[in-house]
Amino acid sequence: MANGSTFKSNGSVFSGRLDEFRLVELLQMVGLQPNTGALHLHQDNGRTGLIYFDTGALVSCAELDTEALTLGHVLQQLGYANATQIAHAFQQQTQDPLGKRIGERLVDLGIIDQDRLIYALKMQALWTARELGLWREGMYEFHPGERLAPDSASPRIDSTHAIMEMLRYEHEWESLEPYLRDGMRTRLMMAAQAPLDHQLLFDPRAWLIISKVNTQQTVRRIATTLRLPELDVARMVEPLIQQGLLIPVGAAGGPGLPEEAERLSMRNFDLFTLLIGMEQDWLKKKTPMSQLIALAEFINSTMRSLEESCQLTGLTLAPDTLNVILGREGLVGVENYRFRVEHNRIDTDEFTAFCKQVFDGSRGAIGASKSFYDRCSDILERALGAAFESINARIASPLERAQNQEAWEALFLTFRGEQAPAG
């Protein structure tokens, strides 16, 4: 640890300043042990980076920025997919925002195979990490145990490999940094007039870059359009800046999400108001049967709110979304009864009849009724939690995700009649 560092650890979270402890050093500390959790990086200008570790391996690295490196950028830069194919997959996403992720859709469409998807995700994480490794100021905070939503296509990157790549990149970037101060987000413009001593003879690849500057502006976007790795494009841009043909004009982007991810995010889903309403409804339900029906109705009201939220951003919720969520979690019914689910709603009339039949059938047998209630409420609660979880997985901010989960778990305590722990 550096002398005078603000590094501190309370056993659960450590945090400090990046000017005292660089990312590459943090990676050594976190990644060389079997740690699981998330490293949050933050700068005063609002830039945020998130690196997730699973038992010491780096499994995801992302920047929360409107110009962040996306999987779509990487797939195009590696030549695995073109813009039209990615737009097609994205269009499918808008019809089923809680369904498969865009990479899985591209695999389904036969545009890439699973190996290429995992390789591209790996490159996305590595390329983002090496850019974050250049940060010289800001804060870091490690959150042990914090995980991403499970994803079958997550890459696992050995921490030593990531550290070596970051050191190599840092070394190479030393020569590019004076010209591209904002990395791949650097905005470029054509010089108003050509330098007098320039013969205006160009390598064909240099001309390709020049021809894209006005429309694409940043190194990252130019590289994506040309379907070339962005570091290669940065190398080609550097002499053009040196020669006075291109001029760097600051950084593009700002805190947020890239446009497509922003549209798919569930940030305008008003979970908290929904939870407050559910609690009030619940408090009016005094009988076991009315409580079970209320739980089924809460699932329906969650799906209804979700549909409304999707409509606001021009998305359409796939009609089998609830079926998929229940099926994935193995929550399709209770005992021999299967929930009838149509258009993202549980048929509560049929479910009410089923409950009535069970409670009437076990009249006088309090133990049997209670046992049914416990099993049924457990399944419905888990189903409601799974719906919340699916929505929460689309929230970019880990802080908001954690707060959302804490809030619905508090509601579940009320459902179970458990005494609330103090604030």
């Binding site: 933050h42 805190p255 108001t273 103090a422 604030g423």
Partner: protein, 176 residues
């Protein structure tokens, strides 16, 4: 500890800031309230969690308590400052919200504290009773979280931070 203090840690800026939540209609900055705090007393852990999280996203410093006695105890020990706005559930264990409001309002330190009653029972009598005990507003549950933030933000803007203990003084009210 019977209370929590929702501070604005480093993630409460940039992409974590309130502007990116649904409370877009009003997004106060970090310094707008000059240290004024909001206190919530509600026995529902779900309500406390929801309000802690959503107020944190809106940069509103908030303390929460499950009942009035816990809040009074923390105030008298100086563990928390006198809030500028108090959100008070009516149906509380150990001591009703009305009694809590009457007790606090009888103390000079709470002269400028704005009390907002929260209740699941939207009856006229509750509203009248709330007025009698010094509450300035009444919000029926279920409420929209964004509406509550708007109400609290407006009340905080009405309360000058330099006026008495309602401005968020950390000094304990000595007679509580």
């Amino acid at each position: 500890m019977t209370h929590s203090f929702t501070r604005a840690p480093f993630p409460a800026r940039g992409p974590y800031a309130a502007a990116e939540t649904w409370e877009d209609e009003f997004v106060p900055d970090d310094t707008m309230y000059n240290g004024q705090t909001v206190m919530l007393i509600d026995d529902s852990i779900a309500v406390r969690r929801v309000i802690e999280a959503s107020f944190q996203r809106a940069n509103l410093p908030t303390t929460t308590f499950p009942d009035g006695l816990a809040a009074i105890q923390a105030l008298s020990k100086g563990e928390v400052g006198v809030p500028a706005v108090l959100l008070l559930d009516i149906e509380l264990p150990r001591m009703k919200g009305y009694e809590v409001a009457r007790l606090l309002k009888s103390h000079a330190g709470f002269e400028h504290t704005k009390i907002v009653m929260l209740t699941g029972n939207d009856g006229v009598l509750n509203k009248v009773h709330s007025r009698w005990v010094g509450a300035c507003d009444f919000i029926a549950k279920p409420f929209r979280v964004s509406d509550l933030i708007s109400v609290v933000s407006a009340l905080l803007r009405q309360t000058p931070p330099d006026r008495g203990s309602g401005g968020g003084s950390d000094d304990p009210p000595d007679t509580l």
